[in-house]
Amino acid sequence: MQEEIRILSTSSVCGAGFLESSFERALAQKPHFIGCDGGSTDPGPAYLGSSRTVFPKDAIRRDLRLMLIGARRLNIPLIIGSAGTGGNDTQLEMMHQMVNDIAASDHLSFRLALIQAEQNKVYLKQRLNEGGIKPLSPAPHFDSATIDRSEHIVGMMGAEPFIRALKAGADVIIAGRASDTAIFAAMPIMMGFPEGLAWHAAKILECGAASVVQRKTPDCMFAWVRKDHFVVEAPDPELRCTPQSIASHSLYENADPFRLVECSGTLDLTRSRYESAGDRSVRVSDSAFLPAERYTVKLEGAEKVGYQSILIGSIRDPFIIRQIDDWIARLREKVHNRVDMVYSERITREDYLLHIRIYGKNGTMGPLEPVKEISSHELCLTFEVTAQTQEIASTIAGILRHQALHLPIPEWSGLITSLACPYNHLDRGPVYRFNVNHVVEPSDPYEMFPMTIVEIGASASKKVSA
């Protein structure tokens, strides 16, 4: 077994960018592979639901091209997970086409593995009926109707599908939704390095340079994983890691800073030791991995809530501000009554959602806001109408605008105009929600993640499915 495996993580996410100078420095350190994740749930359910990407396609293409060229120059694997933000099949195919285009224009040839993460609805219903889908906490209600309503449901793959692709000789792996850490843990685990160190190094690498003391811009991160420890260092010589900065990275976007659950077990950082290894690098040891009794795959799903229209306005009149809750309640009643009239009760108030935010009062924190008494001299209001079609949402937003403009208050007699609107209402199109926080117990780590091998470039396109 080799003494160490060197890993280059280019950025926190493909499309966020990295410095070419950092990338070149990192390549000079002869990494055994390059990894990068391509997505997350963090930008919200719309990306999984609509198949759009959160980063502009040109920004993704720039990062992807540099990584492909660098990986081929060193003849090392490039591993990308969570393609196209949500990691569904449409987003994976978008990334596949981008790889094809770059390979053609830059004359690259390689073996590409595509790993799908979108879940078949029949398969999920079968697992559900067998009791093989279990809720995490907190979890929304999930049943076969949820599956039917979903635009896309993806499984978050573990390290095993990546290992299978590497063993199939893949030079480039583009995967659908994957655990960010699995992208970086797969090859060290395949080569026999301790799983606790592999997963912990992966956890730090998956965010690129986020774990340095002061990040300037999204950038590269580098790790040397060895048999009894690993060392992390940012390729940019101006960036510095400290034991505290690395230790505190396990807090980021995790509910529990000591136990990180993966498909095959739990990374346990309770006993991890962090020591300085020179001015800019940190040595980590004693991280443990506790294998799970059952292999589980977490699901992510997005369904369409409806179509939305929004109106933004503000209020400066202190009479209205001091009765704002009552004003809103009266406005709601007026809108509902007017909608009844316009649609002759074909659309009832249960058919649409009218959500009003009051900035200057509790717009940011909603029910969590502890401050109840306000002294704002002006308030900003957003009115959001969500309905079955864009036409209905837009109609109701138009009704709302007119009712809000002229809602009377007892302090003034005569026609008032009580809302300052910088522009007319806007149609937002479809809006989505996350609808599942559950895990599947599959028969094996691969059945939810089919792989296709494609020969790109010189050797022409041969296609083999596994």
């Binding site: 505190s248 980021y252 000591f258 969500t386 989505y432 929600r433 996350f434 926080n437």
Partner: protein
């Protein structure tokens, strides 16, 4: 008495997946971290009270190696839901800033 905002290097909130919010209270030096940890003013119960939850709903951790205190709570609305106001969960920490430390 000093406010937690004056003692911490960083107080932040963030999504921990679409269904949970997490708070990180981070310190520059071990002395300040220990002062806050030993004060008993930053606890599971205090976080529960500030966010109107029962203590059972709050995950709470002292992270000595990171010089950080961490708490996680269920989101009032799932990330991106029509009633959710903070898609990244990034502006939910303000009530923690005013905790007074002896």
């Amino acid at each position: 008495m000093t406010s937690l905002a004056q003692l911490a290097q960083l107080i932040r909130s963030k999504n921990a997946g679409p269904f949970e919010l997490t708070f990180d209270i981070m310190f520059d030096d071990a002395k300040t971290y220990e002062r806050v940890k030993q004060s008993n003013k930053v606890t599971r119960e205090i976080v529960a009270k500030l966010y109107n939850l029962s203590a059972n709903d709050v995950k709470f951790f002292f992270c000595d190696a990171a010089l950080a205190i961490k708490a996680s709570i269920p989101r009032p609305f799932t990330q991106g839901d029509p009633r959710d106001s903070d898609g990244h969960g990034g502006q939910q920490y303000a009530p923690l800033m005013e905790i007074q430390i002896p």
